[in-house]
């Protein structure tokens, strides 16, 4: 969708708002990989990606007619993704309280990444140490969202976003332990 102009995106969103299924499908196809990547960065669980991404897009289809500014679609979509992931992580935390020896330790082994997978492991480990809100902040920045857009997503000020982002980056650096070079 990066190559699509803002006008074309707004037109597509308007068609989707009128219930045009082809437009809704095009939006899903255009954003599915970015949303999946965001969900994975937020949860660190590959087995959650498909399910949570599906939840995000179902919410998108059901609520798109209430989106007043089609130009804000991307910010709105990633706000849905962020909130869906945070809800899931809250539920997971509650489940861990009531089922301490449940299935939380089960995870599908991650496939090796495009770069050194140890670097990826180090990043994932560091992200896992952060609060979900901070993880969301860093993932939104990586997603290409501006400070203003993030402020709108989080319903806060740009200054607050900058301060929180600074702290989140500090925390990430504290926990980031890149692999040894042998």
């Amino acid at each position: 969708m990066e190559s699509t102009s803002p006008t074309a995106l707004a037109d597509l969103v308007r068609r989707a708002q009128k219930g045009d299924e082809a437009a809704q499908r095009e939006l899903v196809v255009s954003y599915q990989h970015r949303v999946a990547g965001f969900v994975y960065a937020m949860t660190g669980r590959s087995d959650y990606v498909e399910d949570l991404s599906q939840q995000v897009f179902i919410k998108m289809i059901r609520a798109i007619d209430r989106l007043q500014a089609p130009a804000q679609f991307e910010s709105w979509l990633f706000r849905l993704a962020r909130n869906t992931c945070i809800d899931q992580l809250r539920r997971q935390k509650l489940r861990r309280i009531f089922l301490p020896f449940g299935e939380e330790h089960e995870n599908i082994p991650e496939p090796p990444g495009a770069v050194d997978s140890e670097e990826l492991d180090a990043l994932q480990h560091a992200l896992a140490q952060l609060r979900p809100q901070d993880r969301a902040l860093l993932a939104l920045v990586q997603e290409g969202r501006s400070h203003a857009e993030i402020a709108e997503t989080l319903e806060t000020s740009v200054a607050a976003v900058k301060a929180r982002l600074h702290r989140a980056r500090e925390h990430l650096r504290e926990h980031y332990q890149p692999p040894h070079e042998t």
Partner: protein
Amino acid sequence: MKPEEHAWQELQRRASAQLRGGFADRVVRTARGPQEDSWRALFSVGARQLRPGFAERVLRAARAAAEMPSLASQFALSAATAAVCLGAVLFVHHQTVEAADERNLAEWQAIVAVAEDDAAGL
């Protein structure tokens, strides 16, 4: 060389022997934090988790969800049912209490009449 200088050098030698290979590089990478390509790799691993036909599955699920009554409408139906039940219970209770009151009043009136007759007779 003074004995304490020798001792300092020995201390430094032993301390630096504790550092693993690539120490300086590791320090620099840690200080810089995760690099762009690590983030890109993270997002691309996430993107690869979607099975083919994802969009079709989403649209199917959205259609199925649209056909189901919404949570709000289910709640409204439950609330309406509860209100009707409560109304029925209150109505029956009111009727029962009213009937009992009328019965009691009639009985008291009969007692009063008997008492008045007795008083007049005396």
